[in-house]
């Protein structure tokens, strides 16, 4: 009876091909559900139109409200991405398909890598659509191409942090009922930010909470890079630091949770 440990033949190339296979799986699922994908893209556009026209704003933002609102909506969309990640991971866990993946001789982390690659792609697509609609509404980036790409980078970095929080929550909660709770809770968390209004226009204590919301840091830095109202220089570093800090906490937690599925 053999007791020698069989080494993984080529861990790096397996990890890459398996991650690509898992990403392809998500892309194939999109191709199957164009309506769901479209709804996901249209939802933030609806919010943008609602706050731009129906609710009306510009509570002393010091410029065109649309220039304030669009970067805020971009950040909010990244924050709400947490929900989508959590739903997808929860569904997989409850369907038994993750059991099959885990019983295959594949790279263990590929399930999570595929999830993040697909979610990041979807978020990049969402940003593109929202920026396009914002442009049509009269929003303009004034900061030049380098600053523009920097802003997009900050938004995606923030989304990446939300993604791993979403994976962690799904692995901890793992039940559709708890997904619902998170779906409801992201709203106050998203709205306790400077996405729609400046903290200056709020009562002092609320303004302080809003200032500290990591999403506000990203929104402020992005406004700065776009050269619009509500931007403050010096926030780029906090907009980098906050998501990195969240990743330092939640990435290992999520990976650890996934490994502990066998406990």
């Amino acid at each position: 009876m053999s007791t020698s440990t069989v080494p993984h033949p080529n861990p790096v190339s397996h990890a890459l091909t398996d991650s690509w296979t898992m990403t392809r799986r998500e892309l194939a699922r999109w191709a199957r559900q164009p309506v769901a994908v479209a709804v996901n893209l249209v939802f933030p556009v609806m919010l943008l139109l609602m706050f731009g026209y129906l609710v009306g704003g510009g509570r002393g933002v010091g410029g065109e409200y649309v220039d304030y609102l669009v970067p805020g909506m971009l950040a909010l969309t990244m924050a709400f991405g947490l929900e989508g990640t959590m739903i997808a991971v929860t569904q997989d866990l409850n369907k038994g398909v993750v059991d099959r993946f885990r019983s295959l001789p594949m790279a263990n982390g590929a399930v999570l890598v595929g999830r993040s690659a697909a979610d990041m792609l979807q978020s990049a697509l969402g940003l593109t659509v929202l920026i396009g609609v914002g442009y049509a509404l009269g929003w303009r980036a004034h900061g030049g191409p380098g600053a523009f790409l920097g802003a997009v980078g900050l938004l995606l970095l923030f989304r990446f942090a939300m993604l791993w929080i979403g994976i962690f929550l799904a692995l901890v909660a793992g039940k559709p009922e708890l997904v619902q709770a998170v779906q409801i809770l992201v709203w106050p968390v998203g709205f306790l930010s400077n996405a729609f209004a400046t903290p200056d226009s709020m009562p002092g204590w609320l303004g302080a909470v809003v200032q500290w919301n990591p999403m506000s840091q990203t929104a402020t830095a992005v406004r700065d890079l776009f050269g619009g109202p509500g931007g403050e220089s010096g926030h780029v570093w906090t907009a980098v630091a906050w998501p990195l800090a969240l990743l330092v906490v939640f990435f290992p937690l999520a990976v650890g949770r996934f490994a502990r599925l066998s406990k």
Binding site: M1, S2, T3, T5, V6, H8, H14, T17, D18, T21, R24, R25, A28, R29, R32, Q33, K95, G96, V97, D99, R100, F101, R102, S103, L104, P105, M106, A110, L261, S262, K263
Partner: protein, 313 residues
């Protein structure tokens, strides 16, 4: 045993205060079909999940295809197939897409994965499903695809965890046929089930588990003989005559169920018992609605082996 495909010695797994496995021992010879029979909560699924590297045991020596499931999980995964209780498929995708994906994850490469998917779809009569998503499949089709997905690399050891639970009789027959077609190819099959009939139909040997340990082990015939073998059931037209029937029928160990007007007894010589019962009823002028020989139910096996009834399923 040198020629064992599965060796389990003293496996323990505890969830909170409950022992899911309480020192379970099991040996399955290569190339055989082995059924693990027991009620819900007996530890069957925990056992399969440990053998399939999805769960770690707290203690025990556990080897599959010659490799330790904890220390050499990768080597084990190369050699096993798993059909879990819930369909382990991507429901949004079609059958071919699912099988190709699993083939790629077995590192067959794109071309071989596609060819293997085609072979398996044809073999399980799913070739014409095309792009239809798995969520639109019937229960039996889904189970067949799930089984195909667990056979991508012709595994040395195949685990089937309650493969027919929740299927209608037709779906069940389909799955039984598929499992039978595997046997003879050298694959070792470990099957869990709540149905004695299923174990009887498919397995060479049966281990009866209860409360996380094996309480009996043997061929179907051995187990049934130990349990008292076949039974004869007699349903009378008039419940008032049950007492008289018990007194005059050539049977021992009779159990009476007045609500169903039923009396039931173990028999050894099936045909002699049947003709004896029929003759005695005729001579006494007792009218019977039904006289039937049958195998013991799992409840009866349990009652016999554990001296307590099987918990409600």
């Amino acid at each position: 045993m040198a020629d064992a495909a599965i060796t389990v010695e003293g496996a323990r797994k505890r969830y909170g205060k409950k022992d899911a496995l309480d020192g379970l021992d099991l040996t399955v010879a290569r190339g055989t079909v082995h059924a693990v029979l027991g009620p819900n909560g007996a530890g069957k699924t925990t056992l399969v999940r440990i053998l399939a590297t999805l769960l770690r045991a707290d203690a025990g020596r556990i080897e599959v295809a010659g490799h330790d499931v904890a220390a050499e999980a990768y080597a084990v995964r190369l050699r096993i197939g798993l059909l879990g209780q819930h369909a382990a498929l991507d429901e949004e995708l079609g059958g071919p897409q699912n099988l190709e994906m699993f083939g790629r994850l077995h590192h067959l490469g794109a071309r071989r994965a596609r060819a293997r998917a085609g072979e398996l779809l044809a073999r399980f009569e799913l070739a014409d499903t095309g792009r239809k998503p798995v969520s639109a499949y019937s229960g039996g089709m889904r189970r067949r695809l799930d089984l195909a997905a667990s056979l991508i690399t012709e595994p040395e050891v195949l685990f089937l965890d309650e493969p027919t639970t929740g299927l209608d009789p037709r779906g069940r027959a389909e799955v039984w046929d598929s499992v039978r077609s595997l046997v003879g190819g050298g694959t070792t099959v470990l099957l869990t089930t709540q149905y004695l009939e299923e174990a009887d139909q498919l397995a060479d040997r049966i281990s009866v588990v209860d409360a996380g340990r094996v309480v009996a082990d043997g061929t179907a015939d051995e187990l049934k003989a130990a349990t008292g073998g076949d039974r004869v059931d007699v349903v009378l037209r008039d419940a008032g005559q049950l007492g008289a029937a018990v007194a005059l029928l050539p049977l021992t160990g009779v159990r009476v169920d007045p609500d169903r007007r039923l009396l039931s007894a173990p028999v050894t010589d099936r045909m002699a018992a049947l003709s004896g019962v029929v003759r005695a009823l005729e001579e006494a002028g007792l009218e019977a609605e039904d006289v039937a020989l049958r195998r013991p139910t799992l409840d009866e096996v349990f009652l016999h082996l554990t001296d307590r009834p099987k918990e409600a399923v």
